[in-house]
């Protein structure tokens, strides 16, 4: 879990995970300037801190390197802003153990999504269209932060995109290395808070150019 200035919700998100019995929770505080670090510190979780903000991709890579050192077999990405449902974790992890998938990607459009603004929906759908076109896949959701992996996947995949473009990089590398992946329906609930905190629609342009650059010029 990565957190940047999430003092309002991070505690309740960790609580919801602990209440479901998840003990190995890794939180990367991405240079928060509010009380996020102090709040997370009180919980029985692994806490890593970026001294300055480096972005979601960079934070996930830091967390991943820590997890690989620890030797956990499976990694689940979970947002700290409260829009993910902890009940979905089991649904994501199950195909990894039962069906030997390497990666499971949460799809809000296969599952349910509440309070999704129209503008965000348009941007997401465009992102899905271009990603499918560029990477030759048929996904229903591409920038959903809820996903699970066999940890060994990250022996090959390393995030070099520090910011939100990491999600496209991830997809590109899943395809490139031929990992077995599956989409799993998940439930996302947007709140006024998570919309405000999440990535801006305008950032999609930046991500689009990075996708083009990575696909054709990298």
């Amino acid at each position: 879990m990565t957190a940047y200035n999430e003092e309002k919700v991070v505690g309740s998100v960790i609580d919801s995970l602990l209440n479901r019995g998840y003990k190995s929770i890794v939180v990367v505080d991405d240079g928060s300037t509010d009380g996020t670090y102090d709040i997370v510190k009180k919980y029985p979780v692994f806490l890593l801190r970026h001294i300055v903000n480096r972005g979601k991709g960079a934070s996930l890579q830091t967390g991943t390197e820590f997890i690989l050192k620890k030797g956990f077999p499976v990694i689940v990405h979970f947002d700290a802003d409260g829009q993910h449902n902890p009940d979905d974790i089991e649904k994501l992890v199950e195909p990894i153990f039962a069906e030997n998938f390497d990666v499971t990607l949460g799809s809000r459009f296969l599952g349910s999504v509440k309070n999704l603004p129209v503008s965000r929906k348009i941007v997401l759908k465009m992102g899905i269209f271009f990603s499918n076109l560029l990477y030759g896949v048929k996904l229903t959701d591409v920038h959903n932060g809820l996903r699970a992996f066999k940890a060994k996947v990250f022996e090959k995949i390393c995030f070099t995109e520090d910011r939100f473009a990491y999600a496209s990089e991830l997809l590109e590398k899943i395809v490139k290395f031929g990992f077995r992946y599956k989409e799993v329906p998940v439930n996302i609930t947007y709140s006024e808070y998570s919309i405000k905190k999440g990535q801006k629609n305008i950032n999609a342009i930046n991500i689009f150019f990075k996708m083009i650059k990575r696909r054709f010029f990298a």
């Binding site: 890593l48 001294i51 480096r54 960079a58 830091t62 390197e65």
Partner: protein, 113 residues
Amino acid sequence: MLKYQIFFGIVVVLMIIRHSALLKKGNLKLRRYIVFLIFWFALLLAIIFPEETNKIARFFNITRGADFFIYISIMVIFYILFKLFERMEKIERDITKIVREIALMNNDEDKDK
């Protein structure tokens, strides 16, 4: 000599002096200094002998020497921009590496306590 020639001529000479001072202080690499020097001297010649630039321009089928210099300037500016972006991205990547290393190291230290 026209007013603009005097003004731009002084600016170019000042820039050459400034770059020379930077080189002397060790804040500018010799290779980069030579590139700057060639650029400033070319500009100085173009300012003193503007008619001569027309000849060069016509060689490239451009009517006026001033237009030729504008095209060249735009190309140079874009090249510099590209190099700056490239360098900035590298610095960003390096900062991330350092921040990550500190985060992982601090966690190890916390564990040792």
